[in-house]
Symmetry: D2
Subunit: 370 residues, 4 copies
């Protein structure tokens, strides 16, 4: 029971507002003996950091992460987790609170403002307070540590749709993801996205996106059949990212139109004594449990609700009003959601890896003898 | 931390296998003083019950629910919750275990069989054991009680797509949902679905579906901004239903192609002193918190993986094989997922209703004075 | 967050009232592949069962346990856990509800009656409803299965004080525990207890007791330094048993009068390469973590509050009254708390065993090389 | 499931080591709209702060607390909780790590050193790392905020025994608690304690203590009948404080020697329409639920295990050794445990206050009409 924690055995608790002194979090349950470097965590944060291209918010946050506890440092700076909680702290530097004065009284349509006021009876309106996507920086840092729990697992996120522009999967080149400011695996689509988003940005508008995250090397057996389903936990995790409105695993909504024959991922024995799946409609999860195939998840991010076009709204005093949201906002918040999606997948997998080790231990080796 | 529990303050734990003596569950945290009748719970179960039309499995389970604890009975049979855990028991009657002997050795593609064996090192293969959709009967019973926690809330599920047949939303008639065996709100689509599914069923195939659940009358303020998001919990809950591969809230994946202008749900003050939203792209949830608009969720169900067409697979001993799944199965398991989806939404809302009451209590009345 | 569950990875949820149709529970998180026989569980229940001597309540409950799920049966009846939840059911047979009619209106001093009414606004007064010690039967059954999670661990409870009669530790003979109806390890004290309790019983009075539970063979490393302390979880678990008012670990309250020198459990290396502790003031737990020494816990049980002597009280309508509690009650409820205490210790240890395996895995072998 | 969190709806997570850069914590679930001042939190910390008399460790920590999130500040400095997580940070200032170099290799008897090494396979030995009592500063800060959740509740801790010196309850004067460095309510006993502890301190030894915490004004109805028992949660909470070896509620272990007649807390109706209890053997809790009487808890603290007298031990490499613990330690750590005990009681009560409000809401007013 918690409002700001995520996970069970690998458990992340975050705190902090967009315009307070700092954001941060506590990772509870990180196994002892993991080795990592602070610059690995910082590197993950840098991928999500705002202000790196004209396509993201011009807020300039260095997002420098400090680790306050839970590690021992070797002479070369390598950190070793001790099993104690790892506290992460990121100081806020570039808060321009006056930018937000206009929205103190009126609710931004599509934003959490009204819901907050009705729920809590008060609200820190600066920068969206707790509902700001700034909190996701902590998720990214936690994800970098979660990845250390998962030996042999590679997690890659990619933007597969921006507004009306979808990638052509025939063009997929993983190396391309790091070459454009959109995490887009299709170079041609990325070029079109640049023009498209320039126009969106200049008009003060915004647009949505679809992100796909693939985890390769996930061992079979993670998850549980009923309420600890791996895919259910992934769905909850990805839907908890700001502005996400949909989540798919594997074939997703397209599976509704398939027949059982088409959707069956047939199997054959491989040369290495392991089964080979002949397709992956399931997205690596069957009955809530990983199969050893790549885990494939997609999520849809709605357009940023902070736009320059005037919208009709009401004030917190119950009066009709119009609102224009100035501030500094991402024209496509889905771009920076790519590393966040990767981090959430890493955290879910790390949690299930530890849960599996705890509950089941080491089951008999498959295949079973006759 | 739990593998078979769902929810926090309204917490449901289920048990039982498809072919064991019984399935059941425990509702922990049901507030005292709720009044309901056993036949209300039974009525909800009857909607999900197999064998009611030629379009669902011919397994004949009466699904008669017993309440073993947590209630006092008045003379007229009305039950009153006491605040103690409510235990539900449904005995299994029509298990024909020998139907399943063929699948003891070979894994059904698209089914949880292989993942189970690798995870646990053993498996109750009869009827799918714990991964059988039979467990969802308990969810439906729990949902009927969850609905009692939510005064003034109406939850309605409907099948909006079966295989390649989608409804025409212009034809939506809620009264129609109860008149056809598909929970379909479009009478014309329902007629086409009947023919379509007859063909699927006769060929031993199966097909997927999309279900939409709408909750009206949900008070604003349910949910939390970060990890207790109402929509994230709904996504996890719906994805935990057997065979679900995708979840959407409000505009869902379509929001990726929208601009911020299009996606903004503008507001005006209504005559009753409450705000009126001029659209509901958000599906009733902003920033993880309910807004008072109808909560709209959709989920995609893949085709049943148990089909009569031979599929390539492997055995638990690591040999190539072919498999045909006989047994008695639903040609479109999405149909019976409709009441299950309603139940999961009811459980999530009940949980958040109690959480909101606990954490926040009664906030100041909106709108706030100047 | 739960009101009727206990434990995390090995998680027990119970339900049922003293005078309802049945009591029972669900064990969630039992690892797969554990082998046990139903008569082992039944045997544990038989030790706690009422009506076995004149010193316990004359209610005649067979306490026959059924397992409804979570196991496969071999041909010889051996059960194998599958990793699915294990549901336990014990039907109530000998409820004489009319015995309790006198206490429907007046509160028994020292009993939960008043607190229930104020908390819930209603109450099932028959047999104490949910506050009856009858619920502990389910704990005992769960403890028998928990013990299977713990290879090489032996858990023994003993009554070390009844009313004013304390055992002489010089007389401790573990074999004696099973030979008298008090689970008393001192034969001479047991003889005196028999006379003493006969007098208490005949006068309609009741008396308290102290129970000690020792777990031998507990591996070092179970527990955690702060809020998952093994001793804190034991304290909470034992205090959750009906009528318990105090818990001690190791030296307990006597440690307050000791100096650091006296209380130090010095260490030497043993011949087997493991450290030998020269004393066990700590009761097997240091810093919240097991040391490998025997875990020693004690708890105090107050006298049964249901007595024949009239006591002053008030009614649920706010009037002064006198009350005599007839019914059938244990003159020393502490006796039957012995197997319950053992069960709670087993459940806590099983939970921490799985948590340690999950969070830490296999640490480097101690002692560490230079 | 968590190793460093405490509570459910009012949930505290702590982090930090004795000799790292900082300790701190996150309070998740604090209701919105609570008003408090930073100096109230600081004042609570100052009571626990080391180095204030010759009877506590001479480590000089200012223990200045910062609040990083979860509050809005009014112009006069009053903080208002927003419902978002409240992050607390206390920087470590006076770490003299070289003091601890001697204990890097050898285990201190009675300390967590050995258990840590065996559990985690590595250990931050400086200042005890995570097992240091320094973590309790965060508990005290959290307790100060928890107290704000509980209108009308007064929580008072007192030292009632130090080593062989117990107070005379006839001398109890609550005003005296703040007048001596021991939190002792008996002025005469306090004078003797000063001489006694001087001798202990000068000899490099240490001694244990017993602390009593009384909460007055606790509303009836907090807690739950089975595993959410108020007294079980108090027992777990108090046993989680460093060096605690025993916990009692109300009559505690003395109840074992009482008869049912003596132990019954009889009731009469008071003039204000509420029941008056004629005694409080129960310590304010019956059946796990608060009765409205003062909640009375006691806990025993063992002597500090860090002493100057050489003790036999082993090294982490498995060799026999002798050890003397220099560093700066409390001769009676029980003294500073007094405000920690108060804080834990405040946190448990706050958690149950919110849980009661969530699960039960507002039950019908007692007494009930005929």
């Amino acid at each position: 029971m918690s409002f700001n924690s995520f996970g069970h055995l690998f458990r992340v608790t975050t705190f902090g507002e967009s315009h307070g002194p700092a954001i941060g979090g506590v990772i509870d349950g990180c196994p002892p003996g993991l080795r990592f470097r602070l610059d690995e965590v910082q590197g993950a944060l840098d991928r999500r950091r705002p202000g790196q291209s004209r396509f993201t918010t011009q807020r300039r946050e260095p997002d420098e992460v400090k680790i306050l506890s839970g590690t021992l440092a070797e002479e070369d700076g390598t950190l070793i987790s001790t099993g104690a909680p790892i506290a992460l702290l990121i100081e806020n530097v570039d808060q321009r609170s006056k930018d937000y004065s206009a929205i103190a009284e009126s609710y931004r349509p599509g934003h959490a403002d009204y819901a907050y006021d009705v729920k809590y009876g008060l609200r820190d309106h600066r920068g969206g307070g707790r509902s700001s996507a700034r909190e996701t920086a902590v998720r990214v840092a936690a994800g970098a540590i979660a990845a250390k729990v998962l030996p042999g697992v590679t997690i890659t996120g990619a933007l597969v749709q921006m507004g009306e522009i979808a990638i052509d999967r025939a063009n997929w080149d993983s190396a391309e993801i790091g070459r454009n400011p959109f995490f887009c695996p299709d170079a041609q689509a990325a070029a079109r996205m640049a023009d498209y988003l320039d126009a969106i940005r200049k008009s003060g508008s915004s647009v949505g996106a679809v992100i796909e995250v693939v985890a390769e090397g996930v061992p079979p057996g993670l998850g549980a059949p009923i309420y600890g389903k791996l895919d259910a936990d992934l769905a909850g995790a990805l839907m908890s990212i700001n502005a996400v409105k949909g989540v798919e695993i594997g074939e997703g909504f397209a599976s509704a139109a398939l027949t059982g024959e088409d959707n069956a991922d047939e199997m054959r024995m491989g040369n290495d004594g392991r089964p080979v799946f002949l397709a992956n409609h399931a997205g690596g999860v069957l009955g809530g449990i990983s199969t050893g195939q790549p885990v494939v998840a997609r999520f849809a991010v709605k357009p940023t609700s902070s736009i320059l076009t005037p919208r009709r709204t009401v004030t917190r005093h119950g009066e009709d009003a119009e609102i224009v949201t100035k501030g500094r906002h991402d024209p496509c918040v889905g771009i920076r959601a790519v590393p966040v999606g990767e981090a959430m997948v890493a955290c879910v997998l790390a949690d299930h890896f530890l849960r599996q080790r705890g509950q089941v231990g080491t089951p008999p080796a498959w295949p079973f003898p006759r």
